[in-house]
């Protein structure tokens, strides 16, 4: 039982690391496609945490959640890719820095 605990927390740490790498990547990288990939990385880090918790509790709830998240992530990427295509078509080789006509 003690060994299981250790394994669970390792998965949790890995999930947190994936989430952080994705988050930093989203903030640092300027290529729109790589930013999309970073969002996916963040979501998958969360998925790993869900599965790890689900395994520790011994119930399937966390695993069903992951299925929902996969579907939502797919829908999000479809829209995101559409937006990226629209932006790149208007100005090829655009990076996130070029989207600065509106000053925040």
């Amino acid at each position: 039982m003690n060994g299981l605990e250790v394994v669970t927390s390792w998965y949790l740490i890995l999930g947190a690391l994936l989430f952080i790498i994705g988050g930093i990547g989203l903030l640092v990288r300027r290529n729109p496609l790589i930013m999309l990939m970073c969002v996916e990385l963040m979501l998958n880090g969360v998925n790993l945490s869900f599965i790890a918790f689900s395994d520790r509790f011994g119930d399937v709830h966390g695993q069903t959640v992951v299925l929902f998240v996969l579907v939502v992530a797919a829908a999000e990427v479809v829209v995101g890719l559409g937006l990226v295509v629209a932006v790149l078509r208007a100005s090829p080789r655009a990076t996130a820095d070029d989207l600065s006509a509106l000053k925040g």
Partner: protein, 538 residues
Amino acid sequence: MPSLEELFNETFASPSVDWWVLVPQIILVGAALGLLLVASLAPRALPAWASTVVTIATGAATAITAAIQWTDWGSAPRSTLAGAFVSDGFSLLITVLVGAGVVMTALVAHSALDRYGMAPPEFAALLLASAAGAVVMAGANDLIVLFLGLESLSIALYVLIALAGRRASSRESAMKYFVLGAFSSAFFLYGIALVYGATGGTNLSRISEFLFGTVREDDYLLLAGVALLLVGLGFKIAAVPFHFWAPDVYEGAPSPVTGYLASIAKAAGFAAMLRVLYVAVLQQGTAWSPIIVALAFASLSVGAVMAICQSDVKRMLAFSSISHAGFVLVGLAAVDPDIVDRLWADFGGSVGVAADLGDGVSSAVFYLVAYSFMALGSFAVLSAVVGSSGDPDDGTSRHDLSRYGGLARRRPVLALAFAVLLLAQAGVPLTAGFVAKFEVIRAAVGEGIYVLAAVAMVTAVVSAFAYLRVVLTMYAPEAAATSGDDAPTARISRPRWGDLPLTTVLAIALAVAVTLIVGVLPQTLLEWSADAALSIFP
């Protein structure tokens, strides 16, 4: 050894579904899908008025259904789908608000669709889909259902903003909203994962029962989860410091969509926040209350100060919407730690305790409803002003303050309506804005958060300057206000509604009417919000 069939029945006991509870969502989603289906199968393109009529009818049907459900059932919660969704006074009030918001957005958008190059059936279907997401968020009693509602609201909104893709500013603002929206959704989801890890469930009522049933003061996993949930929702409601997307997105989005974004999307975010904080993790009230106070403090001051600095009216309204979010947060922050202790001692909540807590929540709900109509009306006016002066170009300062100079002479009624809406946002008596601000500050004082109440009052005065500046520009003598460059519009000699689109006029009139009626006779809406607020407590 159980047979496979027994195992199946045991594992997959399907929850009982109370279909009547789900009627508002079914109407919205059904109309959205039906419209898309008909539009794609029809041999010719549907006329724009057809999809507008369908959207308005759907929005009205949703609001009316929710109102009927509320009068039929009262405010008592009815949960369905194994407790994942709940229909109570609170969710029904937000549903009515969402329905009204859909009607007004469709009215304003009708004349603007062509100008922005947006396809009518797609616009209508996306609007209805995002409204369905908002309604799901209002009634979600499970964090995962909440997440699904949030995502259907957001994903539809990303596309709605990008629909005017001919304009670079629309593409840019959609991209910005998408990246930050996805970022915040990931935070929200991670928050759900941590709360699940700390409590073993995602059902809000069950989390609450679990927390009140166990004595755990400092559960860092739970606190980190709640903090991440607040970050995710903070982005959606554009509370400082998670606000930096708002001015750009509001400015770049088509004005009707901006109105929707500022009112309904924000109200749905607040509904979710309310339910998470007050249903699921009320037991940790002493932990999250300071965070809400800090968010409110930052949103109030940054929103008010930045609103003054803007020369663009649309950006000014974006920052003012941030400061309004701060006011709603003041209502949410009004939790007395003693009450949480008393709830702890006697879980189940005696009515007296709920009534004490309900004061802040009820003021927040009232503020949300009042503000939503003011925001929808204000952005409708913006849409009318730009639309009437026939400016197809893609400049980024389309709503420069100078453009509003002399509006009172050119279009006295439109200017008067805008003045009423702006003064209501400033909190002038006899408007809904005054009652809303008064209630929120009263709740804060009642809970002893004097500093926050004082800050709220000071920033109300500060941001009043930003609104008054627009009003004064509109009513200033022409020569002083503008140079001669908008001479063509100044030559319109018959100032009247006639050349404005009738649908936009209708939406503005509706917003002004609600703002004034609620301002003069606030009692009914106050009772409704109090009723709604009490219904969310277990």
